[in-house]
């Protein structure tokens, strides 16, 4: 039972009122309406771009609802006024205009619903299309009156291109044998097919012929595609693909580039071609399709010039844009559609920043990598530097992101009063250094200075150092190396004075050298102080300032092997050959002792490495307190027989040698400053301890 007719769309009976346009019923090629004229357009390349809809012939018994309603209304109107010419409906319930349309046979069937641009005629218009029997008779066309465009649609006159580009010409039954990708080429949202007419049975013959012809054409096209793809498959690299594309005939390239022949992913496309396609996880390439130079365009084949912006000089197949794509119903794969040029031919800044990011493989996470297949059409674009994910980078980022405990500067965090903790520290050190000067005078100097003859330091420290000098015989010669900087003179000069004073007092000869530029000057002053203390200890006779030994390690190594050159001058410009002392000493074997006054490890090390291993003369060191720790390594290795460390050691040496306590005053000041630093460290740790206890109490209270 047919459903109840819709009152709104129900055709209203209209007696004798003919609103139909007779001139449209008598359609000639010249007077053909636009929508029908589009159907006649057999060249899709020259069409307006309106998509062709499917010509889906309704199956038997699948009459549309609107047609059933139309039939019911016609029957009702026939019963109402019994006017045959006013009903417009035959016995079968088919309107006259449909019958006349069906009479147009071959073409009408395929064109009635074949154009998507055909206006969807409402039922009210169908109702108005009532014609007279005379006019209906005129609508029966003879074979000789068939228009040319209809005859052009007959089998044998349809080109393969027309078949492939006009999917509406393919029946639904034919699509069963089609591959999936070809079925998808049909418009997805095509308008409902036109109702089948009574002339459908008359069209079986020519449809069968047309269908057979289409099958043949399609088979030919498939064969052509298969050959082309096989040719592509033979080349395993993208570069070979590019060369193949450039050398291939233009006709083949045009056919291969046609949208209808683009194979769907995963169907006819070879595996290696699918591998070249961007993976699904890859971001869209908004930057693709950026313009290239005209010079570069000349190097591209014709069909590739269409994939880049800048017009189509040769008029090759153009990939549809987004708007036309939906209208035409051509389902171009996404990766192919991304190749199309952008509207203005230039990507915007945002798309330039969002290039392809590799999702897998060795370049995972790297942005801006061009896939192999579209690289032939895409100019490379520079991308912003992207962080490459890696373990090292992650660790570095985690370190940077970690919250760091910032140690507040002393003067900022604890600046509560006029003086900060830093200022108190400075004042404490200053007063500690001034206490001996202000309080301790004369015999009170040198608090606690004694010869530290402990089991560990008996032979290695100041006592051992003094023992080595005490063992020197009169008129023996020692080599003194003044290797300290003027800034260290406050610590090292007292040691040098004490040693020179002892040597001069015991008439021990000395030859002074230095590897630092300022050393000879300081050595000259100190040696001269020995002469001032002992006038019999004279320059040239008892001591010689040989001056600078250039070349550091190299110079000392040469000194250990070749000794001093006799043509070399001393500090005052006198030749060493003119000195009686220098003339007597020919090498290290003539020396009784080597005394190295080193203010730093860099000064002591060359002597231990370049000289001491090459000679048999014993070495002792008068070193600064900072070098004392490091020099114990040489003492333990017996390279140094003993050391006299810092001011404390010098004060001990003075005490042992019975000389004036020059270093004792400085040692007192140094002792008090060290005590002040000790107090500072203790106070700081007490503060830390109190803070810890306070936090624990707070935590316990909470």
């Amino acid at each position: 039972m047919p459903p109840a007719p819709d009152k709104k769309n129900q055709p209203k009976p209209d007696s004798g009122k003919k609103t139909a346009k007779p001139q449209e019923s008598k359609m000639s090629p010249a007077e053909m309406p636009d929508w029908l004229a589009r159907i006649s357009d057999t060249n899709p390349a020259e069409s307006t771009g309106q998509p062709a809809a499917d010509n889906q012939a309704p199956e038997d018994g699948a009459m549309p609802q609107w047609l059933q309603d139309l039939r019911a209304s016609a029957q009702e109107s026939a019963q109402a006024d019994a006017t045959p010419d006013s009903s417009g409906v035959d016995d079968l319930g088919i309107p006259d205009w449909l019958t006349s349309t069906g009479a147009q046979s071959q073409v009408g069937d395929e064109t009635s619903g074949g154009d998507a641009a055909a206006p969807e005629m409402p039922q009210s218009e169908y109702q108005a299309q009532e014609v007279n029997p005379e006019e209906q008779a005129e609508l029966q066309p003879e074979s000789g009156e068939m228009p040319d465009w209809i005859r052009a649609m007959s089998p044998g006159n349809v080109s393969p291109t027309d078949i492939s580009q006009k999917p509406g010409m393919v029946d639904e039954s034919d699509t069963e044998g089609m591959p999936d990708w070809m079925q998808r080429l049909k418009p997805p949202d095509s308008p409902p097919a036109a109702p089948a007419t009574a002339s459908e049975s008359n069209d079986v013959d020519w449809e069968a012929a047309l269908r057979a012809e289409n099958e043949a054409r399609l088979a030919e096209a498939r064969q052509h595609n298969a050959e082309f793809l096989a040719e592509l498959e033979s080349s395993q690299k993208a570069a070979e693909l590019e060369a193949t594309l450039e050398t291939a005939p233009e006709s083949e390239l045009e056919q291969a580039a046609l949208a209808e022949e683009v194979p769907e992913e995963g169907t006819a496309m070879p595996d290696w071609v699918r591998e070249l396609m961007p993976p699904a996880g890859i971001q869209g390439r908004q930057g693709a399709g950026s313009p290239i130079d005209e010079s570069d365009r000349k190097d591209l084949p014709d069909w590739l010039r269409e994939a880049v912006p800048g017009g189509s000089p040769l008029g090759g197949p153009t990939l549809p844009g987004p708007a036309s794509e939906g209208e035409s119903g051509l389902q171009v794969p996404a990766w192919m559609s991304e190749l199309r040029p952008v509207a203005d031919g230039r990507p915007d800044a945002a798309s330039r920043m969002e290039e392809v990011t590799e999702g897998a493989g060795p370049l995972a996470g790297v942005r801006g990598v061009l896939p192999a297949s579209p690289i032939v059409t895409q100019p490379h674009m520079l991308a912003a530097a992207a962080a490459v994910p890696g373990s090292g980078a992650r660790i570095f980022e985690s370190v940077l992101a970690a919250r760091q405990e910032v140690t507040a500067p002393v003067g900022v965090a604890q600046k509560r009063g006029l003086l900060s903790a830093r200022h108190w520290i400075y004042l404490a050190i200053l007063f500690a250094a001034l206490i001996p000067v202000l309080v301790l005078q004369g015999d009170n100097a040198g608090l606690g200075v004694i010869a530290q003859n402990t089991p560990l330091t008996d032979e290695r420290s100041t006592a051992g150092f003094f023992a080595k000098l005490k063992a020197l015989s009169t008129d023996s010669t020692v080599l003194m190396a003044f290797d300290y900087e003027p800034g260290q003179s406050m610590e090292m000069d007292p040691a040098a004075h004490a040693i020179v004073g002892y040597l001069s007092a015991h008439n021990v000869n000395a030859i002074a050298v230095s590897t630092t530029p300022a050393g000879p000057r300081m050595a000259q002053d100190i040696l001269a102080s020995g002469t001032a203390a002992n006038p019999n200890w004279k320059q040239g006779q008892n001591y010689v300032n040989a001056g600078l030994i250039p070349g550091q390690e190299k110079g000392l190594n040469g000194l250990s092997r070749q000794w001093l050159n006799s043509t070399q001058s001393d500090f005052e410009g006198n030749l060493l050959s003119q000195s009686s002392l220098a003339s007597r000493v020919k090498g290290f074997n003539d020396l009784a002792l080597v005394i190295v006054l080193a203010g730093s490890d860099e000064a002591l090390r060359p002597w231990m490495q370049q000289v001491q291993p090459n000679v048999r003369t014993p070495f002792v060191g008068a070193v600064s307190a900072a070098v004392d720790l490091i020099s114990q390594n040489d003492v333990g290795a017996t390279q140094l027989a003993a050391t006299m460390p810092g001011l404390a050691g010098t004060a001990e040496f003075e005490l042992l040698s019975g000389q004036p306590a020059l270093a004792a005053h400085l040692a007192d000041a140094q002792s008090f400053v060290q005590l002040a630093v000790f107090a500072i460290i203790v106070i700081a740790n007490l503060g830390v301890l109190l803070d810890l206890l306070r936090k624990r109490r707070t935590a316990a209270a909470e």
Binding site: T457, G551, S671, A684
Partner: protein, 200 residues
């Protein structure tokens, strides 16, 4: 590659000759060492002219600290004019060294004690067991090095000497062995031409 064959060959040959001269002394090795010392002396001269050039350019560019560059240039030229004719033994050069250069450098070095005091206040704080060992060792060596502590207890200097000569020397020797191995490796790389600092 061909451009580097010549310098690499010279470097390898000189290095091998000097190395052999360490075990079998010869005149060629001594000559090469002396030549190296002369080259180093010329490097000092080159450095002096480089200082003059750099600071002259700064003055000509009217940099922000051009006045300090002017002071450096004036000082260098004056000292050079005074010291060069007399060879460094004149009274003028002796006065400059004794009353300008040495006090200035000694004063600059004396400021270190204030930085040491603040650094000790900030760094030597017991927060963990490791820092406790560090702080205790520092205090023992600091206190044991001052003669004044002998008036309190003579055992503290003994303990200080043990810390210095046993655990500290053990650490120093470990570092020294590592440095020596690194020096051997560096020497071998130079002798085999792997490292070419002279051509880079």
């Amino acid at each position: 590659m061909n451009r580097q064959i010549f310098p690499v060959g010279i470097a390898i040959a000189v290095g091998l000759i000097v190395l052999v001269s360490q075990f079998a002394p010869n005149d060629i090795g001594g000559f090469l060492v002396a030549a190296a010392a002369q080259v180093a002396a010329f490097a000092v001269l080159l450095g002096f002219f480089n200082v003059l050039l750099v600071h002259t350019q700064r003055i000509l560019r009217r940099d922000k600290n051009a006045w300090s560059s002017a002071v450096i240039l004036v000082t260098a030229i004056v000292v050079l004019v005074i010291v060069l004719p007399s060879g460094g033994a004149s009274d003028a050069s002796d006065w400059i060294f004794r009353y300008l250069y040495r006090p200035l450098e000694a004063s600059f070095l004396a400021l270190v004690v204030f930085f040491i005091g603040t650094a000790a206040y900030r760094a030597l704080r017991v927060r963990t067991w490791d820092t406790a060992l560090l702080v205790i060792s520092a205090l023992v060596v600091l206190v044991g090095s001052m003669p004044l502590i002998n008036l309190v207890s003579p055992l503290i200097p003994v303990f200080k000497d043990w810390v210095v000569q046993v655990p500290a020397v053990a650490g120093i020797r470990g570092i020294a062995i590592g440095v020596a191995l690194g020096a051997i490796a560096t020497g071998l790389r130079l002798l085999t031409g792997i490292d070419r600092p002279y051509s880079e």
